[in-house]
């Protein structure tokens, strides 16, 4: 029945477009084309070859596979046509141009009078030879062409006019970005009103992008942590993560009425977005302190939730070290949107207001208006700093930037004993900061980190964000990656958490939990997939890990299955090893944390047993913070279509979150409740008529979109 009903869809027919609209659209297209060509010409005159050659040598971030074919095609034809010179011979093993007879000129003449071309007039002339080359086959470039001009317009002469290219090696990583990355030309001759959003996203429909994702943002793929058997893998090791970018991103997508991609939902970042009132340490001797509790899991009544809450030391105001901040600001054309550069200016204005007299600020712009915008300036001269910020404008191409080296140079100039030195990179995803190879960039940031200048990354806007790169740069630079989607978020990141995000009190913080097989049979770490460490990395001081800032809180959750609870997902082994552990100790496990002082090389160890006294038999006995963290985890799991997130309905999650809001002076937790309700509307529970993801009894589990895509 459904099938039959659906097949009536195919009989729906679109009406004829009005000739008026058609004409307007075609005119607009030609204007846009001319604008694009003019731009190409300008960039060619500005040393297009040189830049392309540099890119080819250095490799390029996220080049669409096969873009080399494009580049090579464009070079000879586009460039030379405009210069009216003869084409040089071009040979390459991977990219090909096929020349064959054609009758373009004749055809053009035929079309000249007609304003409307129907498909019959564009019927193919029978070519002498029709190339049918398999996409993988290496094809040879055959040139030797001459280009002529007619009536000021470039027309390619037969027989060279048919420049067909065949994609050679799909793995080819060189890019034609110089052309392809040109921002869409602003078309002034537009006849019909159009939606602004449509324009904002022009030009991202490349073949390699997944076109139906709501944006062009890139996220690192990861597989959710699975259940581990304690007797096989008793030790779990990970690096802490105080980033919150994922939550801000998820919020912005949900508020636009979309469900985020599963990989965009990083559970630990959702949980750590919220402030928790854990008790902090009393002195810098132990720079952070862990608070633990074991509560019943809200989505599984057979398991327990081990919550480890860590809070960093807050140094008293008089101990505050002077800040030496260098803003490295992306001023490429794409930043020219209300939620990008203008928001960035206001955000940094907020930050500047927080500074104290001994602090120093410098501003370096890259891309577009590149160079030092503000020489190191004392925070006492606020007017000058704010004035310089105000003068930033977005425009121009993304080329010609030496941004990052300049920023570090400025930061090092102003570095003094005891100062906190940090470069703050603000961008919408254009990491063309002067070092185009991501690996080289990472190495560079790492070497600067070791010399005492850290890096934080602030992401703005949506549609172009390379989330994975943003995360890894901040991680390497001992900083955080935050995503700023509105002014409120700017206030949270730069004002309320300003101290934590700027002043590191401990670095390379690693957590290792050893579970007691006599008490716990299975465990699962919730989130931290992208922060997993090997067991042996824990004691290896050369392995980098996350940082904790002043007053930061970090929360890690484990879902644990106690022995004999009946909640095990794995059957016991028939030939399992004999019990050798002293079951009487009653401890669930043992927590170990390693950290280094911000300027130290040697790690220190903090340990605490996870005793059975921490266990609460009812979730209502847990603190609001603990219950709220559980609600956030449940929300994130359900949102990303996790295998563990289906048991609770959106409403149950919302109730749990709502009941554990606590005082919530800033309203962050109330906002989560709203987001949960929003997600419930977008992806209704089966009981509300929605789909039930991944729980298909026919074994459709492997077809889950979260796993397939």
């Amino acid at each position: 029945m459904t099938d039959e009903a659906l097949s009536t869809l195919k009989s729906l027919r679109a009406p004829q477009p009005s000739t008026e609209a058609r004409k307007l659209a075609l005119n607009a297209a030609m204007v846009a084309f001319d604008a694009a060509q003019a731009k190409t010409k300008i960039s060619e005159e500005a040393g297009f070859f040189t830049r392309l050659a540099q890119k080819m040598r250095g490799g390029w971030i996220a080049a669409p596979a096969g873009a080399a074919a494009l580049a090579l095609l464009l070079l000879p034809v586009g460039y030379q046509a405009l210069n009216s010179t003869s084409m040089t011979r071009l040979e390459g093993p991977k990219v090909g141009l096929e020349s064959k007879d054609d009758t373009l000129k004749e055809e053009l003449a035929k079309q000249a009078g007609a304003s409307t071309i129907t498909s019959t007039t564009t019927e193919a002339p029978k070519p002498e030879g029709e190339a049918n080359v398999s996409p993988q086959a290496p094809v040879v470039v055959r040139g030797g062409n001459e280009i002529g001009r007619a009536d000021g317009t470039v027309v390619l002469n037969a027989p060279e006019s048919d420049q067909r290219f065949v994609m050679g090696a799909p793995q080819d990583e060189i890019a034609a970005d110089a052309l392809a990355a040109q921002p869409a030309p602003s078309v002034t001759a537009k006849m019909r009103t159009v939606a602004p959003a449509a324009e904002a996203t022009l030009g991202i429909a490349s073949q390699t992008a997944i076109p139906l994702e709501p944006t062009g943002d890139e996220f690192a793929k990861f597989t959710e942590n699975g259940v581990k058997i304690v007797s096989e893998e008793p030790v779990s090791t990970f690096s802490i993560d105080v980033d919150t970018a994922s939550y801000a991103y998820v919020r912005s997508v949900l508020e636009d009425g979309y469900l985020p991609e599963p990989d965009a939902v990083r559970l630990e970042e959702l949980i750590n977005y919220f402030p928790y009132a854990y008790q902090g340490p009393d002195s810098l001797e132990a720079p952070f302190r862990a608070t633990m509790a074991v509560i019943p899991t809200p989505w599984n009544n057979k398991t327990e939730l081990l919550e480890i809450g860590i809070k960093g030391y807050v140094p008293p105001a008089e101990m505050r070290q002077p800040l030496n901040l260098t803003f490295l600001i992306d001023t490429s054309g794409s930043m020219d949107e209300p939620n990008k550069l203008p928001l960035l200016k206001r955000s940094f204005g907020l930050l500047v207001d927080q500074l104290q007299d001994g602090d120093t600020v410098s501003i370096v712009a890259y891309a577009g208006s590149a160079g030092i915008v503000l020489e190191p300036t004392k925070a006492t001269d606020r007017t000058k700093i704010l004035g310089a910020l105000d003068q930033l404008y977005a425009g121009g191409s993304t080329a010609g930037a030496e941004g990052i080296a300049l920023a570090y140079q400025v930061a090092e100039q102003t570095k003094q004993d005891g100062s906190v030195n940090r470069v703050i990179l603000a961008t919408d995803g254009d990491f063309n900061v002067g070092i185009s190879d991501p690996e080289e960039l990472k190495t560079y940031i790492k070497s600067k980190r070791d010399s005492g200048v850290f890096l934080s990354v602030l992401g703005f806007g949506r549609g172009n964000l390379d989330d994975a790169l943003m995360q890894s740069l901040a991680q390497i630079g001992n900083g955080n990656a935050s995503y700023i989607d509105d002014f409120r978020e700017a206030k949270k990141v730069l004002v309320e958490e300003g101290g934590a995000n700027l002043v590191t009190i401990a670095k390379d913080v690693k957590i290792q939990v050893e579970f007691n097989p006599a008490v716990v049979s299975e465990y699962r770490l919730i989130g931290y997939e992208t922060r997993a460490l090997n067991r042996e990395d824990f004691n290896n001081d050369t392995v980098d890990a996350g940082e904790i800032g002043a007053g930061h809180t970090v929360t890690a959750l484990y879902e644990v299955t106690l022995k004999g609870s009946g909640g095990e997902l794995n059957d016991p082994l028939r030939y399992g090893p004999a019990e050798t552990v002293d079951a009487t100790s009653g401890e669930l496990g043992f927590l170990k944390m390693r950290y280094k002082a911000p300027d130290g090389d040697q790690s220190k160890l903090i340990t605490a047993p996870i005793t059975s006294e921490l266990m609460l038999d009812d979730i209502s006995k847990a603190s609001a913070d603990q219950r709220f963290a559980a609600a956030v985890a449940a929300f994130g799991q359900k949102l990303k279509g996790s295998n563990y997130g289906e048991a609770m309905s959106w409403q149950q999650i919302a109730e749990l979150a709502n009941s554990s809001k606590g005082t919530d002076p800033e309203g962050y937790r109330a906002e989560l409740v709203q987001l949960i309700n929003l997600a419930g509307v977008l992806s209704p529970d089966p009981s509300d008529g929605g789909r039930s993801a991944c729980d298909d009894p026919n074994g459709a589990k492997t077809d889950c979109p979260s796993m397939m895509e």
Binding site: P17, N132, Q163, F165, A184, P211, L212
Partner: protein, 191 residues
């Protein structure tokens, strides 16, 4: 070189292939900056773009706006077409992206007073009932989650097979099948 050999072997006469090769020719020239070729290409495909947009939005005026935006976008986006799929498949995706962009933009949401303009062939007095049904089904499908709606539209309205739909959607064939399966589950109670 084997170039000439490939040429003679490749004399494929089917209309589809010729039409595809025509597109490839025009695309290559347009990319190289040939104004006429670009003009031809856009003219040739305008109706296709419009029809696609209309099927997805159900409204003529929206479809015309979208078609114009796509035409403008092609001026730059054409450089990104790399010939790995047929030009029309690529164009379908570009159009679909634009439909999504349009529908996402908030200023658009209020502008829904327009009448549904898709017509059913049996839109004569006698076939009115069926037309209404098709309209209703279209609306139900429109209310599905994005991916499910896309899968259903491509497979049922555009009569593509799952592999073709997967190419347009940029996912695996099995994923398309899964979306269809899920969509049908949702629709079962409604149709």
């Amino acid at each position: 070189m084997s170039g000439s050999l490939a040429l003679s072997e490749g004399l494929v006469q089917s209309d589809i292939n010729i039409s595809r090769s025509r597109d490839d020719d025009l695309v290559a020239r347009a990319k190289a900056g040939n104004r006429e070729a670009f003009g031809l290409l856009v003219e040739k495909h305008y109706d296709f773009i419009f029809r696609t947009a209309c099927k997805w939005t159900g409204k003529k005026s929206d479809a015309e706006d979208i078609a114009q935006e796509v035409c403008i976008k092609l001026a730059t986006a054409i450089q990104q077409f790399d010939g790995r799929s047929a030009f029309t498949s690529w164009l379908y995706r570009v159009t679909l992206n634009m439909v999504r962009d349009m529908q996402r933009s908030t200023s658009r949401k209020s502008k829904t007073i327009d009448a549904f303009t898709l017509v059913h062939p049996e839109d004569d007095p006698g076939g009115q009932e069926e037309a209404t049904t098709a309209h209703e089904i279209w609306e139900r499908v429109g209310a599905l989650p994005d991916k499910q709606r896309e899968a259903i539209m491509l497979v049922y309205a555009e009569e593509m097979n799952h592999a073709e739909a997967a190419e347009i959607m940029g996912c695996k064939e099995a994923t398309v099948s899964w979306h269809i399966h899920e969509a049908k589950k949702t629709l079962r109670g409604l149709l």
